[in-house]
């Protein structure tokens, strides 16, 4: 495409985007002169450039909008919603035409007369009916008086009015002042000729007027006009203005630069330059500048004579290009104050550069590898240097691709504004952290999902004003967009204070669409149900508005975000609002990858998801053990589920894995969300920087690969996606179709599900215990079991460990080895003897029937079977009853006796789990299942020494609870401890901000107990 046109398109598109935003601002703040001026200037530039390029359609639309804007500016018209809407419409039309222009390089055919008619009607409505026929709305006296005699005709639309005049106009609002300014220099110059030339001429205003006239006269002066023919009047004016400003301010360098661009046709000779000087002189005379000053001014032009003449001679045949370059440079000149430190670069070029740098990085790595194996150190130093340069180059090129996220948000204010009009709602958009930078590529990819979500929030989320008032909320809804960095990721939140996602309505929809059965729905938590909005083909809007509700919704958003390695999460509380959180990587291009081997092929695992590496063989401390067929690894008192890469990739069957002799395995501990697991590989090489390239479309279906890359040695390797591996591992062995569907849901809900260890012990029904509570699995030789004081004991790790039977009907094996689950609670270790360990399953824990039977928390459906979930605390207390009794006295960290604790947790399991644990410690525990209940207690004046609260709870979260309590309630001084599965640094900080004294991860009983006694101590000390 023509360079000039291209330039125009980019620039105009940018301008339009800005105008979009500014207009919305203007509507809210109609008296903001600055905003109005800015809009006017931009629209005006668009119009001017269109005229230059010969785009009549664009020009006429822009012209009519400009008319209306001019009236706004002159105060002849009030800024009204209607007028803004029509102007926005005209901008849309301009965008349409631009799009056509971009596609075909020609202005698309179309009729804008209706739109123009409406614009004109608005302009007319403001009075001054001649405004439409006489487009120069800013028809101030200066223009009128001066132009008419020189031109001898009235101006054509779009021909005159340069930005500088606008500026001059803004600075000098009244004609009286203008006149005063013009007469002033005369007196000034006669008194003090030491004043700079610039001042004596009359400052920028006069020069602007003079430039205007020079430009006009040039066109009408036969001998000289041909030299300026191919530049439009607007630009010519700008050039002269720039030239004169710099000349009169004694900035000769700049002046010469500008001067070189003034003449764009060859053959400009001395004679012509003299003619030009005459014109300049005449123009200044017209401006009533006094004679001496004019002479001096004209003399100063001699300084650039050479520059002008030589540039004319040196002009290359590509005149057109030069003129456009010149236009660019001249454009910068009037805005000299804004430093011209940036240039426009084609995105493809950047992209190429990025690719080249990537290749360079790879080659560098390759060289480093070769040198590492060589004794010759001569190469080492230069290579070191090369390596450093490459790294810096890579960093800088990456930086060029970084853009503030605000760019992706630019369209949102307009969208929200349109929505408020269309839906008759009141919505405020609050954008925070707009300058957070991220990779251009990522930015492009999230733009659409983001727009979609904000649109959704406005359409589905925020209620009608009346509804809001009825619900006791402010009439105006708020949508908050927030972006910030967090450890190599960008977190983006879209938060509204609207209606939240209606659970009941969703339930109906889920059933209607057959996405889940009645009973399944009944078992789901609100949050689980709400997350169905991420399901394909889901839309809850009762009416399909033009805005949203077309059924392509959040599932597309989710898949788009996941495509770039991001995650999306949502919390919605009915009546309170919805918060979406998107986590996306900073860049996609270069990542560190751990190279591993499985069956002779190498694979890369993104370093970001690798936590640590563990080696497991016969001689090492770490051994891979099996629970039924599930391999696990004991890692620092935790059981880590394992997957064999060879099995995932289909090389081996579990039998093959078992059949190996003296296996020497490397375990890559990977984390996906909150779930960590080990990937067993044959060998681990080092870490390499890899350039992620997307896989071919035919491989897209394989979600265990996130891409492929070329290594330093030139071979291609596949990049494994831990996410996909986890999903594949979970699905293995199950009924595939159903499993896959479930997986969709499960992916979102992973944090909520719990790894359960299922075992049998006496009775018929299997029993289960959360895997995270189990410290170790042991097989104990029955012969080693001793009986002391009527209890079964076994020597274990140098101490006596009591053995408790999981079921009273159960007996010890007669011979051989007894399976034992080992639980640790602080320094106490207990063995729970079971008949057989059955399996480990990932399951959402939903306890159905509470049980009166001691030792059983209740029943839950686990892996499709009813299982009894055991109460570990019960067994612990049975094993240690004696010890525990004595301990309350002995243990000086425990201030527990008689201390009252309030425990707030919505999960039955945790309430049942923790109550005995705390009770055993000597606390008196009051348990409630929701914040509301807790607040009721507060109202009734019940006091506690400590509050332990869960964070994620329906209706009101722990954060809000803490904020409530700490905001001057009667519980204000009670220490609060947060208990949550989300224990990232950010959550902790948020908890502390909300008023929690401490933040403890769920299941970390020891820390909880320690924290409790600590809090009590602090409180005791303070009292």
């Amino acid at each position: 495409m023509d360079d000039l046109l291209n330039e125009f398109l980019t620039e105009t598109n940018e301008s339009i985007d800005v105008v979009d935003v500014e207009l919305v601002k203007l509507e809210q703040d109609p008296n903001n002169k600055e905003v109005l001026d800015n809009i006017f200037r931009l629209v005006h530039t668009i119009k001017g450039t269109c005229g230059f390029l010969g785009l009549p359609r664009l020009e006429s639309v822009a012209h009519s909008s400009e008319n209306v804007l001019g009236k706004f500016r002159d105060g002849e018209l009030q800024v009204s919603e209607h007028a803004v809407t029509v102007i926005l419409e005209s901008l849309d039309r301009i965008k349409e035409i631009l799009a056509g222009l971009e596609a075909t390089e020609e202005e698309p055919v179309g009729d804008d007369s209706e739109l123009i008619g409406r614009l004109d009607a608005i302009a007319e409505g403001g009075g001054a009916p001649e405004a439409t026929s006489e487009p120069e709305v800013e028809e101030d006296t200066v223009d009128g008086e001066i132009i008419d005699p020189t031109l001898g005709r009235s101006l054509k639309p779009g021909e005159v009015s340069l930005e500088e005049l606008e500026a001059a106009f803004a600075n000098a609002p009244g004609p009286e002042e203008e006149a005063a300014a013009a007469s002033e220099p005369v007196s000034v110059s006669s008194t003090s000729s030491e004043q700079p030339l610039f001042e004596r001429i009359g400052g920028e205003d006069t020069i602007a007027v003079a430039a205007h006239m020079i430009a006009n006269r040039l066109e009408n002066t036969a001998g000289i006009s041909s030299f300026f023919k191919d530049v439009n009047q607007e630009q010519r004016k700008a050039k002269f203005l720039g030239l004169m400003l710099s000349l009169f301010k004694d900035d000769v360098d700049t002046a010469e630069n500008v001067a070189r661009q003034i003449v764009t046709v060859t053959g400009f000779a001395d004679k012509n330059f003299n003619e030009l000087l005459d014109i300049i002189k005449a123009s200044f005379e017209e401006c009533q500048v006094d004679g001496d000053t004019i002479d001096e001014a004209v003399m100063s032009f001699e300084l650039v004579r050479d520059a002008v003449l030589s540039s004319s001679k040196a002009l290359a045949p590509t005149v057109k290009k030069a003129s456009s370059d010149g236009a660019q440079a001249a454009k910068g000149a009037p805005e000299a104050k804004r430093s011209n430190q940036s240039i426009r670069v084609n995105v493809d070029l950047l992209e190429d550069l990025m690719n080249m740098v990537s290749e360079l990085v790879l080659t560098r790595n390759q060289l480093l590898q070769i040198v590492r194996n060589m004794d010759n150190t001569e190469l080492a130093v230069p290579l070191q240097r090369l390596s450093q340069c490459t790294t810096e180059l890579q960093e800088n090129v990456m930086k060029t691709r970084m853009q503030p996220i605000g760019n992706a948000w630019a369209k949102l204010p307009r969208i929200i504004r349109d929505l408020t009009v269309e839906l008759d709602k009141k919505i405020e958009l609050d954008m925070r952290g707009a300058d957070t930078e991220l990779d251009r590529q990522v930015l492009e990819l999230i733009k659409d999902p983001l727009t979609h979500m904000v649109r959704n929030s406005a359409d589905h989320g925020i209620e009608m004003p009346a509804v809001r008032i009825a619900a006791g909320k402010p009439e105006q809804g708020t949508i908050i967009l927030n972006a910030f960095h967090e450890g190599g990721h960008i977190i983006m939140e879209i938060k509204d204070d609207g209606a939240g996602i209606p659970v009941e309505k969703l339930k109906g929809k889920i059933l209607e669409k057959g996405l889940a059965t009645d009973s399944e729905v009944a078992e789901m938590s609100d949050n689980q149900i709400q997350k169905f909005i991420f399901h394909p083909g889901f839309s809850t809007a009762e009416q399909i508005t033009s805005v949203s509700g077309r059924g392509v919704g959040m599932d597309v958003v989710r898949s788009n975000i996941e495509k770039i390695g991001g995650t999306i999460d949502m919390v919605s509380i009915e009546g309170k609002g919805t918060t979406f959180q998107i986590k996306i990587p900073l860049t996609l291009a270069i990542v560190a990858g751990l190279i591993v081997k499985a069956k002779g092929e190498r694979y890369a695992i993104p370093q970001i998801s690798v936590l640590e590496l563990v080696r497991a063989n016969a001689t090492s401390d770490n051994k891979i053990e099996k629970i039924k067929d599930t391999p696990v690894l004991r890692l620092r008192n935790r059981l880590l589920p394992l997957v064999y890469l060879n099995e995932v990739l289909g090389f081996d069957t579990p039998e093959d894995t078992d059949a190996r002799e003296n296996p020497d395995d490397f375990i890559v501990v990977a984390q996906v969300g909150a779930f960590s697991f080990g990937i067993v590989v044959d060998q681990v090489f080092d870490t390499e920087e890899i350039v992620v390239k997307p896989v071919a479309p035919i491989l897209k279906e394989l979600d265990i690969y996130s891409g492929n890359t070329i290594l330093g040695d030139g071979s291609v390797i596949m990049i494994l996606d831990p996410n996909g591996i986890a999903a594949t591992a979970n699905a293995a062995g199950g009924d595939h179709k159903e499993e896959e569907e479930e997986l969709e849901v499960r992916k979102v809900e992973r944090e909520e599900s719990e790894s359960m260890l299922v075992f049998s012990a006496g009775g018929n029904s299997p029993k289960a215990v959360p895997l995270s509570l189990v410290a170790r699995l042991e097989e104990i030789d029955v012969e080693n079991v001793e009986i002391s004081d009527g209890r079964h004991m076994v020597q274990y790790r140098g101490a006596l460990m009591p053995l408790v039977f999981a079921d009273s009907e159960m007996t010890l094996c007669k011979e051989g080895r007894q399976q034992v689950l080992v639980f640790t609670d602080r320094e106490y270790t207990m063995g729970l003897a079971v008949d057989e360990i059955l399996d480990i399953v990932e399951e959402k824990l939903d306890i159905k029937l509470a049980s009166n039977q001691p030792g059983i928390v209740g029943s839950a459906v686990i892996d499709g079977k009813a299982s009894e979930v055991i109460d570990v605390a019960h067994y612990l207390s049975r094993a240690f009853s004696e010890w525990l009794k004595s301990r309350t006295v002995a243990d000086d960290t425990t201030h527990a006796a008689g201390t009252s604790i309030l425990l707030v947790d919505d999960s039955d399991f945790f309430r049942n789990m923790l109550k005995p644990v705390l009770a055993v410690e000597g606390y008196s525990v009051k348990v409630v299942s929701s914040v509301a209940e807790a607040l009721d207690l507060m109202e009734n004046g019940v006091m506690f020494d400590l509050i332990v609260s869960d964070i994620e709870m329906p209706e009101m979260s722990g954060f809000e609870f803490a904020e409530n309590v700490k905001a001057g309630s009667r519980w204000e001084n009670i220490p609060m401890v947060a208990l949550s599965a989300l224990a990232s640094e950010r959550d902790v900080n948020r908890g502390l901000q909300a008023g929690f004294s401490d933040y403890v991860a769920k299941f970390d009983k020891e820390t909880l107990l320690r924290s409790l006694s600590q809090q009590l101590k602090i409180r005791g000390d303070a009292a």
Binding site: E359, E601, L649, G650, F651, K693, A696, P697, I698, L699, E701, L702, I704, Y705, N708, T709, I710, G714, S715, V716, I717, M718
Partner: protein, 161 residues
């Protein structure tokens, strides 16, 4: 007969003849429109992709581009190439994505008269009929013309499956 010639990607050829690169696959000679061929490669180091379809032999590095290798024998339901012989590659593009077709041997470039073109015989094996544009009658043998677009239109295939 001219109206039978499929020209869509060869419309520049106006002389009534078309150029094809011939390749051998299990004894059958196939023609690939010469303009569709980007590269012809000798045996390459191919990285296998576990779990992919069996007619995907893997990926290879072609001057910094990652090219997906398609096992044409497997795709057309033929026995794998036995013995010591290594496959050669013909690199074609589909939707801007490079693919390397693994074939036994590359022959020559033939300029063929449109007159020699025939439709696929109706009795042709369905798998072949799908990817063959038609047949050229050569003096000694028949040349089936590969429809590269159809051959590589996996997206639609896999979706339907």
């Amino acid at each position: 007969m001219n109206d039978l010639v499929v020209r869509e990607d060869l419309s520049v050829v106006t002389t009534g003849t078309q150029d094809f690169v011939t390749v051998k696959l299990a004894g059958q000679t196939l023609g690939i429109p010469v303009l569709a061929v980007h590269d012809v490669l000798n045996a390459q180091q191919i990285t296998k992709i576990p779990l992919s379809a069996d007619w995907v032999s893997g990926v290879l590095n072609l001057r910094g581009r990652i090219v997906t290798a398609i096992d044409l024998r497997s795709r057309l339901g033929l026995e794998p190439l036995g013995g010591e012989k290594k496959s050669m590659s013909v690199v074609v593009e589909h939707n801007d994505e490079p693919y390397s077709l693994q074939i036994d041997e590359v022959g020559e470039v033939l300029s063929l008269d449109d007159q020699l073109f025939e439709r696929n015989p109706v009795t042709l094996d369905a798998r072949w009929r799908d990817v063959s544009k038609g047949i050229y009658r050569l003096e000694n043998e028949l040349l089936a013309i590969l429809d590269v677009e159809k051959l590589l239109a996996f997206e639609t295939n896999t979706k339907a499956a």
